[in-house]
Symmetry: C2
Subunit: 149 residues, 2 copies
């Protein structure tokens, strides 16, 4: 039996915690936390708007968690909720101009925080990490409902 330091699950949680901490600290100047930032960023990635259901799926959260996050971003004037013409059950969340500008600034801050927390890894190693995690994330998404807005 290996030691805890070799446990992949533990290592992921440990490093993720450090990176989230650093990113939250970096994002504080924009009055954002990583959770809100991720919702804003994903919204910006979908110019036509994205449903709250899909936001939840992409972020690995429960749909009920999305409600208050979007509420906060709406209150800050960074995104808007509008009814989808095709299906009036769904709300399409779209970024405002202010939201897009904030997203740009926040992305730089968050990336700098993460890079700092992972500075013991070379740029190439960080790139390898990104490729592996991206592959796992894409697979996780494709499994849980391949389609839908």
């Amino acid at each position: 039996m290996g030691e805890l330091r070799d446990d992949l699950g533990f290592l992921l949680a440990r490093i993720s915690g450090d990176v989230v901490r650093a990113a939250n600290a970096a994002l504080a100047v924009e009055s954002l936390r990583v959770r809100q930032y991720s919702v804003l960023a994903l919204t910006c990635d979908f110019a036509e708007g994205i449903s709250q259901r899909r936001l939840a799926r992409e972020l690995g959260l429960d749909p009920s968690q999305i409600v208050s996050l979007v509420d906060e971003l709406v209150a800050a004037g960074l995104v808007e909720r509008r009814l989808a013409a095709a299906d009036r059950r769904t709300r399409l969340v779209t970024a405002t101009g202010a939201g897009r500008r904030k997203r740009e600034r926040a992305a730089n801050l968050a990336a700098a925080g993460a890079r700092e927390a992972l500075r013991s890894l070379s740029d190439e190693e960080q790139a390898t990490l990104r490729v592996l995690l991206s592959k796992a994330a894409t697979a996780a998404l494709d499994e849980a409902e391949p389609r839908s807005l």
Copy 2:
């Protein structure tokens, strides 16, 4: 500016969340959660006992969080707290026989959960991930106070 899906910090948090969820589900049959498991496992890794301060440092937690975690493990008969002879301020936490046996079972369960959550990555890719994260974790530890029990 890249998309959120290329954000290393986001990917770490996203995948870590999936893996922790899977590990918690797998550990339920042993009435453990990953957080308690990590304390138990680390305690087992130090046969002579480990101070709560060091537990906190290795796990990336605040010392105040360790108290109740150790309390729970003591109540379950998995670890013991005893005063260090050299410095009576420090409590050395040591695993009991039952604790060591549970750790073995729990480690297998947690590893299986993590492997399942990361099944889209080959064994080799998971090994690469482990090496990179291990390097980052070791560096993080060496920075914050290189020595001490």
